[in-house]
Amino acid sequence: MLAKRIIPCLDIKDGQTVKGTNFVNLRQAGDPVELGKAYSEQGADELVYLDITASHEGRKTFTELVKRIAAEISIPFTVGGGIYELQDVDRLLNAGADKVSINSAAIRNPQLVDDIARHFGSQVCVVAIDARQTEKGWKCYLNGGRVETDRYLMEWAREVNDRGAGEILFTSMDHDGVKTGYANQALAELSDLLSIPVIASGGAGKKEHFRDAFLEGKADAALAASVFHFGEIPIPELKHYLCNEGINVRL
C-alpha cells in the first residue's frame, strides 16, 4: 500500500537552514546537507528545500547546494524559491533535484504550470499555495505571505490541478508556526476536490497533529520544519506512533 509521507522542510538562506515563525523572525538550524542526511537516515520520506534568498548571488549558491544534496542524499527532494521560468526549472533539475515547487510565479503566470508539466512531466511540478482564511474563504498570498491576491485556495488549486501540477503543497498561514495542528478542514476539502496528492503544511506541534492531517485532513503527506529541526518530534518516534494509529507509513 502507498505510504503516507513525512516531509521535513528546510528553509535556506545564504546556504544555511533557517525557519521562521509566522514567516518572520528567522532562527538558525544547521547545515542543509548534514541535516537532510540525518533526516533521511531517521526515515524522512522526502525533503523540501526552500531557497528564501532573493539575490542573484544567493541563487547560484543554492544551485551549488542542490548539487551537494543530490550527491549525498538517497531519497527524493523538492526545491523551491526563485523559480520564475522554465530555465530555472531546467537548472535545478540538472543540478539533481527531483521536483520543483512554484508559488508566486504560478499565480503571476499560470501557464508556467502547463509548461513545466509538458517539458518535464507532471510529477516534477509541485504548486505551493500559501493561504489565509477570510470571511469569503481561503485567500491566496504571494511572496512568502506578504502580498494578498484575488485568488482563492479552492479554485486556484483546481486550476493548477487541471493545468498539470503533480502535487499541491498547501500552507495555512493562520496555522503556520503556531503549533496547534494543521488546517484539516480545508485540507479535506482540497483532497476531495483534486485528483493529485495534497501535502499538508503549517501547524505541526505534536504527533497527534500529523495523525489528524492524515485522518481528518485526508492529506497524502505532511510537511513540518521546526518540530523536526529542534528535535521536538523525532521522526522514528512519529512514524511508530502513526503506525500504531493505523496509518500506513514507511518504517
Binding site: M1, A70, A71, E72, L93, S195
Partner: protein, 196 residues
C-alpha cells in the same frame, strides 16, 4: 568494475550516477557503442516519455545495441518500460526484450491518484536483485504507466491492482521503482546488481 550508464535524451540520469558513486563505483555516462558493449554492467535509466524516447533510440541505433547486450543490464522506470513490447504511452513499439505490454493506470476510485507517486512495498520478491530480502521493503515510485504481472515478474507492488515492480529475463533486469531514490533499500538492490 566498469559500469556504464546509457546516455540518451532522458531527464535526471544524474541521480543514478550519484547513487553509484555513493556505493564507491565511478560510472561512465555514455552513448558510445564500444564503451557500452565493453562495460561489465550497463544501466538504462529513464525519466521521460516513451514514444519520443523510442524514436531517439532508433535514430541513434541504441535500440539494437541495448537488445544485443550480453552483460547484466538494469533498466529503471522508463528504462524498464522501454524494454517491453509495446507501450500505451504514445502508442509505441518498444525494444521487445520482455514480451509484455505497458499499460496506463486507470483510477478505480477518488483515492487512486495517477501518477502513482511515493513509497510502496515490494511483495513476492524473487531473484538476484532481491537477495537477502526477508520482509516487505518500501521503495520509491513515480509513474503513470505499468507493466502487468507476467512470467518475468521478480517483484510485485499493489496500487489500484498488483503490477510488476521488477522483471527479469536472462541478463536483463528492470525495476519500475527508483532504487537510486529508495534510501538504504535501494542501495541494497543496486549493490545486488553490481555483485552479479
Amino acid at each position: 568494475m566498469k559500469v556504464a550508464i546509457i546516455k540518451y535524451n532522458a531527464g535526471n540520469i544524474f541521480s543514478v550516477d550519484y547513487a553509484l558513486r555513493r556505493l564507491g563505483v565511478e560510472p561512465v555516462i555514455t552513448a558510445d557503442a564500444e564503451e557500452l558493449t565493453g562495460a561489465d554492467k550497463v544501466i538504462f535509466p529513464g525519466v521521460g516519455e516513451a514514444a519520443t524516447t523510442m524514436d531517439y533510440l532508433r535514430r541513434t541505433g541504441l535500440d539494437q545495441l541495448i537488445k544485443d547486450l550480453k552483460q547484466p543490464v538494469l533498466g529503471i522506470c522508463l528504462g524498464m518500460q522501454l524494454m517491453c513490447g509495446h507501450s500505451e504511452e504514445g502508442d509505441v513499439d518498444c525494444l521487445g526484450i520482455f514480451q509484455t505490454d505497458v499499460k496506463r493506470f486507470h483510477p478505480q476510485q477518488h483515492e487512486d491518484k495517477v501518477p502513482h507517486m511515493g513509497w510502496n512495498t515490494l511483495t513476492e520478491t524473487r531473484g538476484d536483485l532481491f537477495k537477502g530480502f526477508d520482509k516487505e521493503e518500501f521503495v520509491y515510485f513515480v509513474h503513470s504507466f505499468y507493466v502487468p504481472v507476467n512470467e518475468c515478474t521478480a517483484a510485485q507492488t499493489q496500487y489500484i491492482h498488483p503490477f510488476s515492480a521488477a522483471i527479469q529475463k536472462d541478463n536483463f533486469y528492470a525495476t519500475q521503482f527508483h532504487p537510486e531514490k529508495s534510501g538504504k533499500t535501494g542501495e541494497r538492490i543496486l549493490t545486488n546488481f553490481l555483485n552479479l
